[in-house]
C-alpha cells in the first residue's frame, strides 16, 4: 500500500539533477479524439475513466459501464493477445481468446475481489483458463502455459529479464495518467513527440522531458510490482 501510494502520489519523480514537473491537471485531463489516421487509437473517453485505476474500472464494468471496459481493453488487450498467440500458436484463435477473455470480464466483473488479486492477475487467470478451454474445443495442443514460457522477454541481468507484457501493462496502469498518456501515445499509437504535443496541447519541450520521466517512473514501477497485492498466483 505504501508503494502504491507513493507511485500514485507522484513522489519520486526526481531523476538525476533535473526535476520533471507535471503539467497542470486540467491539461493532463484534456481529451483526445480518435483519428481516422490511427485506427487503433482510443476513442474519446471521459477523463475520469482514463484516470481510474484498474480495480475502480472493474467496479464500473460491474455496473454496466462500457467505457470502463473499453479502457481496460486498451490497457490489457496486448498481453492477452500475446498470451493467446503463445498458448494457441495461431493469430485468429488468439483474437477469439481476446474476445472470450474480455467478454468474461464483462460478465464476471461483479465477482472480482481486489483483496485477493490485482486485476492483471485475475485477467491473466481468465485468459489462461479460457485459452486452455479454447484449445481443447479446437483440439489444438496448447503450448506450455508455464510462467517461464510467458516470461521470456528481454534478456540480460536487468530486472526486466523476468518481466513480461502483463507486468508492463500493469505497471503502466499504475503510473500517473500524464506519464501513461505520453508513453501510450508514443509507443502504442506511434505518434511523434511533435504530434503528441499537438494532440495534448502541451509544449514540445515538456513532452520530451515528460517522456524521459515517464520511462523512469515505469522502470520504478516495474522494480516494485504490486507491493500492495495481498495474494498473487
Amino acid at each position: 500500500l505504501v508503494a502504491s501510494s507513493r507511485l500514485q502520489s507522484g513522489v519520486g519523480l526526481v531523476w538525476g539533477p533535473t526535476c520533471i514537473k507535471d503539467r497542470p491537471k486540467r491539461d493532463r485531463d484534456a481529451d483526445f479524439q480518435a483519428s481516422s489516421e490511427h485506427p487503433g487509437m482510443r476513442e474519446k473517453f471521459e477523463p475520469v475513466v482514463k484516470s481510474m485505476g484498474d480495480e475502480e474500472l472493474v467496479r464500473q464494468v460491474a455496473q454496466g459501464d462500457g467505457r470502463a471496459l473499453a479502457e481496460l481493453y486498451y490497457r490489457y488487450s496486448r498481453p492477452v493477445y500475446a498470451t493467446g498467440v503463445r498458448l494457441l500458436g495461431d493469430a485468429h484463435m488468439a483474437e477469439e481468446l481476446v474476445q472470450d477473455a474480455f467478454t468474461n470480464v464483462w460478465q464476471r466483473a461483479a465477482s472480482f475481489d481486489p483483496n485477493r488479486a490485482s486485476f492483471a492477475t485475475w485477467l491473466y487467470r481468465v485468459t489462461r483458463n479460457r485459452g486452455v478451454d479454447l484449445a481443447r474445443r479446437r483440439r489444438v495442443r496448447p503450448q506450455s502455459a508455464g510462467e517461464a514460457q510467458l516470461r521470456a522477454i528481454s534478456g540480460g541481468p536487468e530486472p526486466e529479464a523476468s518481466v513480461d507484457g502483463w507486468d508492463v501493462a500493469r505497471a503502466l496502469s499504475r503510473i500517473p495518467e500524464g506519464h501513461r498518456e505520453v508513453l501510450t501515445l508514443a509507443y502504442f499509437e506511434g505518434l511523434s513527440q511533435r504530434e503528441i504535443s499537438r494532440r495534448t496541447g502541451v509544449p514540445l519541450g515538456t513532452i520530451k522531458s515528460r517522456t524521459t520521466a515517464a520511462l523512469k517512473r515505469l522502470h520504478q514501477s516495474l522494480l516494485n510490482p504490486g507491493a500492495e497485492e495481498v495474494q498473487r498466483g
Binding site: T18, G66, H219
Partner: protein, 182 residues
C-alpha cells in the same frame, strides 16, 4: 542544449525523436557524463519492453467486436438475468389472469349459492348448496357444518337453478333426506 537538460532527452533519444544536432550533442555528452549514461542504461530495458508490448497489438477492429459482443452478453449478468426471469414470470401471471378473465366473460360465472334451511329431517342443518352450471347440467355441492360426520356431497342433476332453489326452500327433499343419512 543546456547541460542540465541533457538527461531529459534520453527518452526522445531512444525513440529516435531528436534532431541530428540534438542527437550528436547528447552522444558527445554521454561520453563524459556518467549520470546521464546511467539514466540511459536504466531507460533502455523499459523502452525495449514497451516496444515489445506494442508489437503485440491485436487487430484494430477487434476492439469494436469485443465491445459489441460484451454488450450482447448483458443478459447473462446475474442481476439482469434475475430481473429477466422476474419480469417474465410477472408477464406470464398477468397474461394468465387476463386469459381467465376473458374466459369467464365469455362463458359467464353461473355459480349460485343457496342457503339451506333446517327441517325436521335435519334440525341442526346449517349448510349452503353451491350450484354451478355446465351446459344443461348442474353440479351441486352441499356443505353441512353442524354435522360432524358430514362431508361435501356432489350431486349432478339436470334442471334450472331456480327450480333447485325452490326445491330446497319447499321442505325436505330427497336431497335433504340423502344428506340426513350421512
Amino acid at each position: 542544449v543546456a547541460e542540465d537538460r541533457f538527461e531529459e532527452l534520453v527518452g526522445p533519444y531512444l525513440l529516435g525523436e531528436l534532431t541530428v544536432e540534438e542527437e550528436r550533442k547528447l552522444e558527445r555528452h554521454l561520453e563524459v557524463c556518467s549520470g546521464c549514461r546511467r539514466a540511459l542504461d536504466s531507460a533502455q530495458p523499459t523502452h525495449n519492453l514497451l516496444r515489445q508490448l506494442a508489437a503485440n497489438e491485436p487487430p484494430a477492429e477487434l476492439k469494436d467486436q469485443v465491445l459489441v459482443r460484451a454488450r450482447g452478453q448483458i443478459l447473462t449478468q446475474p442481476w439482469v438475468r434475475w430481473g429477466f426471469w422476474v419480469t417474465t414470470a410477472a408477464a406470464l401471471l398477468i397474461a394468465a389472469g387476463f386469459g381467465v378473465g376473458v374466459f369467464r366473460t365469455i362463458t359467464g360465472d353461473s355459480s349460485v349459492t343457496v342457503p339451506l334451511t333446517a327441517t325436521s329431517w335435519l334440525p341442526r342443518l346449517e349448510a349452503r348448496s353451491r350450484q354451478r352450471r355446465s351446459g344443461r347440467t348442474f353440479r351441486s355441492s352441499w356443505k353441512c357444518g353442524r354435522y360432524p360426520n358430514s362431508r361435501t356431497m356432489s350431486i349432478t342433476r339436470c334442471g334450472t337453478t331456480s327450480k333447485m332453489a325452490a326445491e330446497s326452500a319447499a321442505g325436505p327433499s330427497r336431497w335433504d333426506q340423502r344428506a340426513g343419512r350421512l
